[in-house]
Amino acid sequence: MDDLLVMAHGVSKKFARRLRYAMSYGVVDIIRELAGKDRGAQLRRGEFWALKDVSLELRRGSGIGLIGPNGSGKTTFLRILSGLIKPDEGEALVRGRVAPLFALGAAFNPVLSGRENIYLNMAMLGLGEREIASSLDEVIDFAEIGDAIEAPLQTYSSGMTARLGFACAIMTSPDVVFIDEVLAVGDMRFRAKSYRKLAELRGRGAAVVVVSHSMNAILSMSDHVVYLRDGHVAASGPPTDVVSRYENDMSDVSSSISAHDQTLRSRSRNQAPLEVAIREVYLAQESGERLHEACAGRDAVLHVRYIASRTVDDLHFAVLVRNLSHGGELVLNLNSGRDAQPLRIDPGEGVLCLHFRPLVLGPGAYVAKVVLADATFYIFDALEEFRFLVRGEANMNECLVFQPRVWSARPVVSALLDHG
């Protein structure tokens, strides 16, 4: 039990969205507290649970990741663990010195020198004068401030200020580190240094609670991930499992805007009959079985059912795919004509197929534009929006595309010979 550093048991917190309620409840809460009465666990008018029944345990040297969409309660939870606000239900326990890496340089004063600011900031993080004096050089060194340490902070670049804030917080030899989207401080090199320092602290037994929207950061720093949604724990467990669950949920959200099975064309009768018309677009397996959603790294076939009134010798079948999860960025622009594979079709109904072997698109929501044209780019017909989803496997966290791959290792023969 001794190595338990952070414990939360059934922690809940309620907030009122409207300022008017928030303020008057504030006065009521203070008066109740002063009267020695506990706050009720019931929601009052205008209140909602910003955090409901969250539990976790964090031991020496381990890391917990908190993920979830904006407003899911991650930061509120960190604020409770930091002792900034009190929980409305449950209990939280924190042992040892805490380094809140989400409040970098909050205590900085622009007209004071870098040195004065180090003293002030580190005193605020709980260090005494002697402790600060002994780690002063290390902080200046880590932050790469150099001689500028005697200059007022307002003459520093934003990078220098951020580095100094980070160095102050990390050099307090903390037992528990709280990170809230913060290692994006400084340039690449400094970031790498920060991660190394953090790893070193963990090696010495510090525990980490990290809140981030970067799944990369979450996966690299945590042994356990808690996924919060609307203040509730939606999932909690091994990082890769919880992160994929979260990523799948996120792509669901973006696709729910429109149903993806709405592919059947309905044409108004008074339109002129087309020489080649698209009837239906859908995804299927090679076996022909239709897919509700595609899977990254597996084979898939895009089917375009058409009806033609004449023979076309060099039909250009074009597919443009945009990633809806990434702001509609164009990710594929495929054209059978450009691939020197013009297709020949005869009058009547038929199916055009685009075989993805395998489908390399990463998990997310996509929209495809399907165009049928001839060599002069005379467009017979086009379907503007065919929406589809791609599901990811557990090992696709943070991957934009599926990379077919094989790993191996072997010694270099010549190197062996050199040593021999």
Partner: protein, 281 residues
């Protein structure tokens, strides 16, 4: 290892534990309070020409204005036990310190909301530093008072040092009251405005610009009921070694000021998480 436990329970239900954490926090706050005080003192006047002169300019300006007004017979003030300009400098310096001390806690919370909402540190440090700031300003004004007394040939005996504890009571009373309202003023900013206006009205009913009026008028009664009156009067009487006219009241108010300080500190400590919950950094 230092351990902190956060529960929804009211801290007042376990007074013993509250006392323990209070003592621990106070001890932990000492060095930080010093750093904050150093920051505030060295930062405040760093981009100014007149620097610390700003502390003494208001009483001097008021003294000049009031003296000119009485000389031109527009205002008639009854005889004071000190030369009138010295009387004004002395009383205004004390009054300004009182007003500053009263307004300090709410404005401290407001000014430091960014740090308060983001870092946990013993909040006492902020409040102690604020008190230290008031004391430094007061010390500068004491220099002003001394030079005025020399200028107007007011004789000073060692007994004048006894005025210092009375001034301390004045400061503690104000600071205690400030602490009592600070959390509520942080929630409802109306209170901060009310404090500014209230202090102006309070000044009217305090013997700062005039001596204590006779008790047989409504105004005189009000001035005598004012808790600041005995403190101002006793401090002055001690400074010039005059017989004490309000000693009993001063003792009573000294007791009240200690209660106000204790209660204010408790209210501030207990209510801080609720205030911070509603502060947007």
């Amino acid at each position: 290892m230092n351990e902190r436990r956060y529960t929804p329970r009211s801290e007042l239900r376990e007074p013993l534990r509250l006392l323990c954490t209070a003592v621990r926090d106070l001890k932990a706050a000492r060095y930080l309070a010093w750093r904050i005080l150093v920051r505030d003192l060295s930062a405040r006047y760093r981009q100014t020409l007149l620097g610390y002169l700003w502390i003494v300019i208001p009483p001097v300006a008021v003294a000049l204005g009031m003296t000119l007004a009485t000389r031109s017979q527009i205002l008639r003030i009854s005889e004071t036990d000190l030369p009138y300009p010295a009387y004004l400098i002395f009383s205004m310096s004390l009054w300004q310190t009182f007003a500053e001390a009263l307004a300090a806690p709410p404005s401290l919370i407001q000014k430091s909301r960014g740090v308060l909402a983001r870092i946990y540190f013993p909040r006492e440090a902020l409040l102690i530093a604020g008190l230290g700031d008031v004391l430094v300003n007061f010390a500068v004004r004491v220099l002003l008072i001394l030079s005025t007394f020399v200028l107007f040939d007011v004789s000073l005996a060692w007994g004048a040092l006894l005025a210092v504890p009375v001034a301390a009571v004045l400061i503690l009373l104000a600071y205690g009251l400030g602490l009592l309202v600070a959390p509520f003023a942080s929630l409802y900013h109306d209170l901060s405005r009310a404090i500014t206006i209230g202090l102006m009205i309070w000044l009217f009913f305090s013997p700062v610009l005039y001596p204590v009026p006779a008790a047989d008028t409504v105004f005189g009664t009000l001035v005598r009921l004012n808790p600041v009156t005995p403190l101002l009067v006793t401090a002055r009487e001690l400074a010039i070694a005059a017989p004490l006219s309000m000693a009993a009241n001063t003792a009573l108010i000294a007791l009240l000021s200690l209660i106000a300080l204790g209660a204010g500190w408790l209210v501030c400590k207990v209510s801080m998480p609720f205030v911070i919950e509603r502060l947007r950094a």
